[in-house]
Symmetry: C2
Subunit: 339 residues, 2 copies
């Protein structure tokens, strides 16, 4: 079992930095597209054998230092019964988005170990096939709430923010309800065997500082703090906005902060000392660049973070679906010193 | 003539902070919508009498402490001959966007004092009618380049960033070309009488730190540094991303940084000492909030920046078109102590 990722998360890595990539099992891979051509996205998520096969793709092809469960943060929305589908090229659609405070009180508290049992099965199938650690994940309550309210991806999060500002009490109730389900969900993942957990607050950058501290961070923290006891595993917090809010995030004492691509990770390290590990933060658009530039930028980041015992190489957001596999492979090889 | 804004820009204001609002002359005002119903957006920009009337609306209605010229950053695109129109509800459209490096070399170097003469005329009409300072403005080269390449508003700036990463030399040539035109444009505005200049790099948050330092900031700086000599006026730099990049922006020594709504302006002040003034940074979405919350948040910001001789109250981005005039009026009244 490769120790690189866990050592870096414990801020005691003396070797080269581990590397894995957000959305490493995704549409940029021809093998993924071949599976996707035969199944809907939700079928792929629901079927433990397919989800296992997809989770393994980047491990085998890229030789990354960690696997991440193939799934989607919105399985929680599905469990909440609001209707979830993925339309080709459009991203997720919530069929019955929440519209008013009373809708929050009508949300069920689902039995997560029943409704999301397929995730546990995937983890159990996948785990024995891996020689690298397995990362589980979930969405953070704010990001999940924004999907439930907007009904999908939003440009301005207007409905979410209007609700939050006009009806803060019911918005807090919604966040709390999602946090409860999410805690059950990560317990399911931990029991099934994930060794690391990443919480994704992908849309937290829709919030200003005071709003982030009131509506996003405390709920990430609540989810994170439920990971305790003898099965305590390291938790990585990711949000868009983490370059700006790193100090506030560090105060909640996660194992690691995954830094978005906006900021300078060296500056973030000055503000966030060890023993908080840092993950990131290459701009995913660099995978469109000529190979020479990509390699130079990867090396520049490695130089910035050299000898940092708590550094994990990653992008600052997920891989775009239309980048070349060669570019992704070059990135991983460069971090691993195989270029 | 009210001295508040200029005193704050010189970091010697002992009075209450001045207040003006980005996009203060806009669609949220019934008077604006009435004019817009009779004219296209570009007619309103091109006609000095109409542009003057619109510029005056918020000064008379809200009693803000500064006027800003009614115009659009994309008049430069129009002067460059790429075709510009504004479709209702869709934002700006560039009819012939740039597609390849050779397109940059085909761009004309227009005679700005001829092609944008209407802006000078508006300023000359407007100036004698004002008892508050008049702010002129322009787009920053990176933001203008992104419009020229994307052909309009973009979610991901993919074309722009791909061009920037794959063809950095021609991208720099484009930025340089836009900067040249922009320098002529602000000279026109200064000669006509604006007393303050704000440079808008609205989409700079599409860039990571190193990219911002290579492709955005130096060109804002180039434009800013052309403002010199006996007619030197204070320059305010605005970008989305200014919460994160405030230190880098401050190093270019602008009179003021306009802070986007993401960050905590108190933290920005700790990182950016006087004599750089700070402007901002209320979340424009707060204008959707109940009056009590809006007022509380305005007062909280005033408290954070109290006794700061270089503070200008503003939003962190422009006013949304669908907020209530009452909310905007309450904001201004609260800052001015008339609530």
């Amino acid at each position: 079992m490769s120790k690189l990722l866990l050592d870096a998360l414990h801020c005691c890595n003396k070797d080269r930095p581990p590397v894995w990539l957000m959305r490493q099992a995704g549409r940029y891979m021809p093998q993924y597209r071949a599976i996707r051509a035969k199944h809907s996205f939700m079928q792929m998520v629901h079927d433990p054998e397919i989800a296992t096969e997809i989770s393994l793709l980047p491990v085998n092809l890229l030789k990354v230092d960690a696997a991440i469960l193939f799934s989607d943060i919105l399985v929680i929305a599905e469990a909440l019964g609001v209707g979830l589908r993925f339309d080709e090229g459009k991203g997720p659609i919530i069929e019955r988005p929440l519209d008013k405070p009373q809708d929050v009180d009508r949300l069920p508290l689902p039995n997560i170990s029943e409704s999301l049992h397929f995730v546990g099965e995937t983890i159990k199938l996948l785990k024995p096939l891996l020689k690298v650690p397995l990362i589980g994940f979930c969405g953070a309550p704010f990001t999940l709430a924004s999907y439930l309210i907007e009904g999908g991806v939003s440009r301005d999060f207007k409905k979410t923010k209007q609700w939050m500002l006009r009806e803060p009490k019911s918005f807090h109730r919604l966040l709390d309800h999602i946090a409860k389900c999410t805690i059950d969900y990560i317990q399911l993942q931990i029991k099934a065997g994930v060794q690391v957990l990443q919480i994704f607050d992908s849309w937290a950058n829709a919030l200003g500082h005071a709003q982030f501290c009131e509506f996003a961070l405390p709920y990430m923290q609540q989810v994170m703090q439920s990971v305790k006891g003898p099965k305590k595993i390291p938790v990585i917090l990711f949000c868009r906005g983490s370059s700006l809010f790193a100090t506030e995030m560090a105060a909640t004492q996660p194992a690691a902060i995954s830094v978005d691509w906006s900021g300078d990770i060296g500056k973030v390290r000055s503000a966030v000392p060890l023993p908080v590990a840092l993950q990131g933060n290459l701009d995913p658009d660099l995978l469109y660049a000529p190979k020479s530039l990509l390699k130079r930028e990867v090396k520049r980041m490695l130089k910035t973070m050299r000898n940092d015992p708590g550094y994990i190489f990653n992008l600052g957001h997920g891989i775009h679906p239309d980048v070349g596999v060669d570019a992704v492979k070059l990135l991983v090889d460069t971090v691993q010193g195989n270029d």
